[in-house]
């Protein structure tokens, strides 16, 4: 029997108020399992930032999460415009978010750098006009 749990979520792109529901559910599940609290926090931050990004930039997307005793793997995929310059997007303070997003408390250019900082591994697969897929791993013990 496999001891990996997997979950799939749709992140709706039209409703900013609902961003974070998937992260909240994953956080709740990890707490129920009794996962390491530091790992839970890091997963929650990375996935929440990812959800916010998908809502702001890509009109929503999908999240796939796999939980095993050793690690948590998150795949966030969207069909958005893609990231033109990944190195620039990874720079703290660089943001392409519109002003209305800043008014909501996001768009400080901290999202991707914070996701990288919070996880143990992060890969970005992006193509202009096609979309972006982010793969992130958090180990139970850092």
């Amino acid at each position: 029997m496999s001891n990996t749990l997997s979950f799939d979520y749709i992140v709706p792109g039209d409703d900013f108020t609902r961003a974070g529901e998937a992260s909240s559910d994953v956080k709740h599940k990890l707490k129920q399992i009794g996962y390491d609290s530091d790992a839970i926090r890091r997963v929650a931050i990375a996935m929440y930032e990812g959800e916010i990004n998908m809502v702001i930039h890509a009109g929503g997307g999908k999240a796939h999460v796999e939980i095993s005793p050793e690690k948590i793997e998150m795949t966030l995929a969207d069909n958005g415009p893609g990231i033109k310059d990944v190195a620039l997007a990874m720079r703290e303070g660089y943001s392409t978010a519109p002003d209305n997003v800043r008014a909501l408390g996001f768009g400080a250019g901290m999202g991707l750098p914070n996701m990288k900082k919070s996880t143990d591994a992060m890969e970005i697969d992006t193509a202009i006009g096609t979309g972006t897929t982010l793969h992130m791993t958090v180990y139970a013990k850092r």
Partner: protein, 115 residues
């Protein structure tokens, strides 16, 4: 101090009650949730003038116990509903952000470690 102490120091109205006896040691004041997500470590109180459900989501992700809306900002029903669901206390004070932070700081709540 407890969440209850925070409410009385700020002369705040309790709009949604989580665990009012929860012990809090550090706080963070910000309107930028991106920064809260990037820089907060173990702060359990968030003071903000930003008023939308993502404030509660951010607090939830960071395991915060209490959100204080400053400058008399009235949270909407969806904000309160989410906070009730997550067991997060919501307070409202007429003080400005700087004053509210100062009052809590001078009563012993700290800002946590340097970045």
């Amino acid at each position: 101090m407890t969440v209850n102490d925070v409410a009385s120091i700020l002369n705040a109205q309790i709009l949604s009650a989580g665990d009012l006896n929860a012990e809090v040691k550090t706080a963070c004041g910000s309107d930028m949730m991106s920064d809260v997500l990037a820089f907060v470590k173990d702060q359990s109180v968030l003071l903000t003038g930003l008023n939308n459900p993502q404030v509660v989501r951010t607090a939830e992700m960071m395991d915060m116990r209490c959100i204080i809306f400053v400058r008399g900002k009235e949270p909407t029903e969806d904000v309160l509903a989410l906070a009730r669901q997550k067991g997060i206390t919501i307070l409202k004070t007429e003080h400005r952000l700087f004053t509210a932070c100062g009052l809590l700081y001078s009563n012993g709540l700290s800002g946590g470690d340097k970045i």
